[in-house]
Assembly symmetry: C2
Homo-oligomer: 251 residues x 2
């Protein structure tokens, strides 16, 4: 889990959210972080902290100075978020951040996508078998998006933006379709959540691999090594060296 | 080519553009059209004509009254269009039209996507062989988007929006990745354009099939049956009954 502090700067957008918290709790000492969030910090922050909205092009461009890796988490995180919000915060906001990163010569761009980008593969015919051990259905990241809500539409658009900036500038980009992140233990009495559980420990490890591995453009699933699963973690293992430690069946 | 005038109404957005012109020239008599464009008609229109912008939710909702099929062409058509324009006109505009169609109970929604949604598959390694007869590389519509410009990003987002509204409402939706549409003859001394040529005759026939065939959700390529090609037309044949008559090699 030890990171390699290279004297380089990692920008973390949406730093005060749930995923940011999971990352910083374990990797806080490993990197020279610049945190960005539109909310001011609660208390004295442990790292450089920029208060800015990701839709503010000038502020984002300034925050990119001296940065060579980016983890972009910022956006409206609500699956039920209305279109106007995900259009502005998630689609336009991601475009602002990824374009500024490419322009600044950032080497690696890590984008927090979501299981909601492919939630509509969970059809009536497949559910609930899909969530259970022994079911063979797998999504592996090569499939077309099939969002279950407008939030998922916005995450799919973010993936395509990453693809575009990778193709046109060579910046490495990885999109992590994050499952169900909870601390301590998997969701209780929620089969879907158990099937796509991502422990805090595996979350931090996966994002560390995204910062450290060599890749071109990847879409991977961000879940622990659950017995129940319908997302393949093979591509995360192969492309990033992801080695998850947790499994929701053990709880 | 004979349409079946069922007394039902077909809404055609972006009616005054190049694709709209190709459709109306051959199918003008076959359907009861409601044309929509943000520019007023030049001269007396042959069909009901609504002047409205597709980003105007209320105007779009009104234009959907009594409509059971939609061909959505409206948007900024420039491959070099800047982000702000494609965000508003192509992404937000398409969302407005497809959501209004789903809400109004429209049966079939035909979306004009573009070859630019997958333009970055034309890598330095593949070009120019890709454009030549005998090269075996094919895109078939199951591949992830790989846009060559922000216009292509916006078209890929439109495809995902169609998928979402299909999945949540059951409205049939087809996305046509339109190639290089020209009247009379294929582009001269432009191999790429010859490989993705779509004649006016085949364009009208393909959109007629999109209005008439039974399907759930499809992504198809809109090109003639060119000897040179790197887009498969098999899915358009199978799902829609598309039978192109033209081939750029014959010119």
């Amino acid at each position: 889990m030890a990171g390699r502090l290279r004297g380089s700067k990692v920008l973390l957008t949406g730093a005060s959210g749930r995923v940011g918290e999971a990352i910083l709790r374990r990797l806080g000492e490993a990197y020279d972080w610049r945190l960005l969030d539109r909310e001011p910090p609660t208390g004295e922050p442990d790292h450089e902290y920029v208060v800015a909205d990701v839709t503010d092009e000038e502020a984002v461009r300034e925050a990119m100075a001296g940065v060579d890796r980016v983890i972009h988490l910022a956006g409206d995180p609500r699956p039920e978020a209305p279109w106007d919000s995900v259009l502005a915060n998630n689609i336009d906001g991601t475009r602002t951040v990824v374009a500024a990163a490419a322009e600044a010569g950032v080497e690696k761009f890590v984008f927090a996508s979501s299981n909601h980008a492919v939630g509509a593969y969970e059809t009536d015919e497949r559910v609930p078998d899909l969530y259970r051990t022994g079911d063979e259905f797998r999504l592996d990241g090569t499939e077309l998006p099939r969002p279950s809500n407008l939030y998922g539409v916005s995450k799919a658009a973010g993936e395509t933006l990453c693809r575009y900036y990778h193709d046109t500038t060579g910046m490495s980009a990885v999109c992590v379709r994050i499952g169900n992140l909870t601390a301590e233990h998997p969701p209780v009495e929620y089969e879907r959540g158990q099937a796509m559980w991502l422990s805090h420990r595996d979350c931090a490890h996966l994002f560390e691999r995204c910062l450290e591995a060599d890749y071109e453009y990847e879409i991977v699933y961000g879940i622990s090594d659950n017995d129940r699963k319908y997302y393949s973690i093979e591509r995360a293992r192969e492309a990033l060296g992801y080695e998850p430690a947790d499994n929701s069946v053990e709880f």
